[in-house]
């Protein structure tokens, strides 16, 4: 069995968000790059857990990005992936990204494709669903639990106010979120092993961009907190009712 895990390079959660070139590009100065947490903590770790249970499972990693994405894909290998593919392209359009991954995945014989539920930079939550369409495969989004029973997957997914449990025959594409697995930290053995694991670079397939980023903007600065004395709770309620009109 082969599992493909899609990983994306994102700025660390605590990064200061700023823009340059007339607010048309993200300012990368001083930014620490990480594997998108939803890809790493949930999608990748669950794939590794399945491999630990059944060593015949191969876990492949894929990312769309330039050479600067290699440290994060090496880290993903250190966590336990077997081999990695980097599609040598910058992408800011989810269709272009999905089309690149689909071009590689269509002949890869993958039984399962895992993605994170979204990236923490563009928050698109789109690539998994698009990939499923391009490969004409079932898609379960926002999975909170994933179990394998032979060639059938049992998956819990988030719905408003609860969860839904579904069964689906492989192959399937699943977007993973909290609950599917628990975050791990790579150990020294994994880091050493990752240095020699295969990392294949492939050139992008022909695909269109269907969107373009025109500009970025920061939200208006908050006016600052209005503190109310702990002994005067009625004043807080008055402010919420009369000033903020929130109750």
């Amino acid at each position: 069995m082969k599992i493909l895990v899609c990983v994306s390079k994102t700025p660390d959660t605590t990064s200061k968000i700023a823009f340059k070139d007339g607010n048309t590009r993200f300012d990368e100065a001083g930014v620490q790059w990480i594997i998108n947490p939803h890809d790493e903590w949930f999608a990748l770790v669950r794939a590794i857990e399945l491999k630990e249970k059944d060593p015949s499972i191969a876990v492949h990693l894929i990312t769309v990005g330039g050479p600067e994405a290699e440290p994060i894909i090496r880290k993903a290998l250190a966590l336990g992936g077997d081999e990695a593919i980097r599609i040598n392209a910058e992408s800011y359009d989810s269709y272009y990204t999905a089309a690149q991954i689909a071009a590689v995945a269509k002949d890869g014989g993958y039984d399962l494709v895992f993605t994170g539920k979204e990236t923490i930079d563009f928050n698109g939550a789109s690539v998994g669903a698009m990939l499923a369409e391009l490969l004409d495969t079932p898609y379960i989004s926002l999975a909170t639990k994933f179990d394998l029973n032979g060639t059938t997957a049992t998956i819990s997914r988030e719905i408003e106010g609860g969860e839904e449990v579904a069964e689906v025959a492989l192959p399937v594409i699943v977007s993973c979120q909290k609950g599917v697995a628990e975050q791990r930290i790579p150990n020294m053995r994994g880091i050493m092993a990752a240095r020699t694991k295969p990392l294949k670079v492939v050139e992008p397939a022909a695909a269109e961009n269907l969107t373009e980023i025109v500009s970025f903007e920061l939200p208006p600065a908050k006016a600052g907190v209005k503190l109310v004395d702990a002994g005067n709770v009625a004043e807080l309620v008055r402010l919420l009712h009369e000033e903020a009109k929130a109750i």
Binding site: A125, P138, G162, V225, A230, V233, I247
Partner: protein
């Protein structure tokens, strides 16, 4: 040319997020000078014709039991067929759980650009530029959709529902669902609760409440506010509260009118899930808690003393 708005439903009722999407889609259509129509897959108990009050003239319904459960593959084929049949050029979804599974998939099928998590009407002066929330709500991006068909999903609670007069005509669409591969075996819902993503008011607790036995104080406050309950990540991880109540970057992302955070310090990961809230109130005994920097109103003090008083004062206002 027309705007087609996907109407999402559960348990026989149309979701509130769909009413926002209808209002938004109708406003997009008005801006473009084209008609707006709704699209419903499956059946609901609600009066569909009455949805005309949100500004749409027609509701296309594809009535088949197979549509009453979400299978993204089945939905995307049916919706794409409806887009082709109706000649729609703009397709609107809510960016809720269904929209996240389906909107990008339909977009890929139609080779249409998609902007998910839109927060405002598109700028159509030169192109179709949609503002969306990015970097976990720490910034916005303006994204131009360059394809002929455009797909937009609207962030819940980011567009005011407006109802006027009017009724919609119901048009039955002959769409035969494709065979589905996903078999739903159980649906576990907490009955009677307002889903966090749809809640107007959220009362949320953190480690400062010291233990699950103290959540009654938050429930007492939530009741007169008709608020949904939420919690921070350590609370869910400690199993004080169920995981579906966890809001934050790895939990549910919310955008209520009012978010009351009690005993939550306000780590950046928590803020990433709540900073689209219109008004934030923070109650914390630590004056240095970072959450105060993101708050509109705050009280520095002991939650165990403040909460009962706050509940009483709210009851006076709410009757």
């Amino acid at each position: 040319m027309s705007v087609l708005i996907f109407i999402d439903h559960a348990d026989g009722h149309i979701k509130k997020a769909s009413l926002e999407a209808l209002t938004y889609g109708a406003a997009v259509a008005k801006q473009l000078g084209v008609p707006a129509a709704g699209l419903l897959l499956g059946t609901v108990q609600d009066d569909l014709a009455a949805l005309g009050k949100y500004g749409i003239s027609t509701i296309h319904q594809a009535n088949n039991e197979a549509f009453n459960h979400l299978d993204a593959q089945v939905y995307s084929k049916a919706i794409a067929e409806a887009v082709t049949t109706t000649g729609a050029t703009v397709l609107v979804f809510s960016h809720n759980q269904t929209g996240k599974a389906v909107a990008p998939r339909v977009a890929a099928r139609l080779k249409a650009g998609v902007v998910t998590g839109a927060v405002a009407l598109p700028d159509t002066a030169s192109g179709f530029v949609v503002k969306k929330s990015v970097f976990s709500a720490k910034a916005f991006a303006k994204v131009n959709i360059t394809s002929a068909i455009k797909v937009v999903s609207l962030n819940p609670n980011s567009f005011k529902i407006e109802a006027g007069e009017g009724t919609a005509t119901i048009n039955q669409l002959a769409i035969t669902p494709a065979a589905g591969a996903v078999k739903v075996t159980a649906v576990n819902k907490v009955s009677g609760e307002v889903p966090l993503t749809e809640a107007e008011v959220i009362v949320s607790g953190g480690r400062g409440l010291k233990g699950p036995e103290n959540w009654g104080l938050l429930e007492d406050l939530a009741r007169p506010l008709h608020a949904a309950l939420a919690c921070s990540r350590p609370v869910a991880d400690s199993h004080w509260r169920p995981h579906h109540e966890h809001v934050g970057q790895t939990g549910v992302q919310v955008a209520p009118n009012l978010y009351i955070a009690v005993g939550i310090s306000g780590a950046i990961q928590h803020l990433a899930g709540v900073n689209r809230s219109k008004v934030i109130v923070v109650i914390n005994k630590d004056p240095e808690a970072p959450f105060f920097k993101a708050a509109d109103y705050g009280i520095v003090g002991d939650a165990f003393e403040i909460l009962p008083k706050l509940t009483e004062e709210i009851k006076k206002i709410k009757g």
